[in-house]
Symmetry: C2
Subunit: 155 residues, 2 copies
């Protein structure tokens, strides 16, 4: 494995990450104008941030409430005592309705963020989670509304 060693993320890198967080489709020139660097210099820094894994990728922020999976929910999972944390984290594998799995310290063991078509769909997904073996219990909560914040790095 590559020694992707010291990732010396300096204040300019932080400013670049900040810009990409706000608009991942900004051009190198636009980012450069914001951080005081030329476009090629910005490209080289971004290439390095991608190589070292600081930048994992780029994604569109989509309004799912107006698409085919308008319903959001969180399901708390409790596992049997023999389940390892890595096994718990893997429970979302292959279930497209699972947006994210957070393994937790304490109770519950995991928090699963779901996006589903309707309540019937939710029932199906929860049953699938429950049937994964090692799941001792679940508690599902419906989301009324979600507000996400653009993860500013600056403060």
């Amino acid at each position: 494995m590559k020694r992707s060693d010291e990732a010396p993320v300096d204040s300019i890198d932080r400013a670049i990450l900040d810009r990409l967080t706000v608009d991942a489709r900004a051009t190198f020139g636009q980012i450069g104008a914001a951080v005081g660097l030329s476009a090629p210099a910005v490209k080289r820094r971004i290439d390095k941030l991608e190589e070292t894994g600081i930048i994992r990728g780029y994604t569109a922020v989509v309004d799912h409430s107006r698409l085919d999976r308008p319903l959001e929910a969180f399901t708390e999972l409790r596992f049997t005592g023999d389940a390892r944390v890595d096994e718990i984290a893997a429970i979302g594998e292959g279930i497209p309705e699972v947006e994210a799995v957070f393994t937790m310290a304490g109770d519950p063991d995991a928090l699963v963020w779901l996006r589903v078509r309707d309540v019937r769909d939710l029932k199906r997904v929860v049953d699938r989670l429950r049937g994964s073996g090692q799941v001792a219990g679940t508690k599902t909560m419906m989301v009324l509304g979600a507000t996400t914040f653009p993860s500013t790095l600056s403060p």
Copy 2:
């Protein structure tokens, strides 16, 4: 306000959203090659998806565990009976450590996703949430690990 009416998101739009979800920096030509359209045709569709608000924006996926806020937590909030849901949703305003606020049906009233520097920082942020007035109680859980899934739209 503009009546950005019927948003007829067809299967090609869905394929475009799918591509942008996986790589928001893909060129129109690359997306066109994937969905079977010319670059200008892809641009017009994306412009419309942005105008109608189906696409809210584009963001970089950053590995925060290797930056300045490596610790994640969820805080459940319980509010006093006179709090309206919109007021509850606004509790994250102006707190940069708040990644998202989910208002919930049932108990708790809200789930707040936090990203902080360390436990001391977590304490400060939770105290700030508690001091927002109308908060009747909190329960904070630490995240051991998070796995997010690339939100595939297709299946």
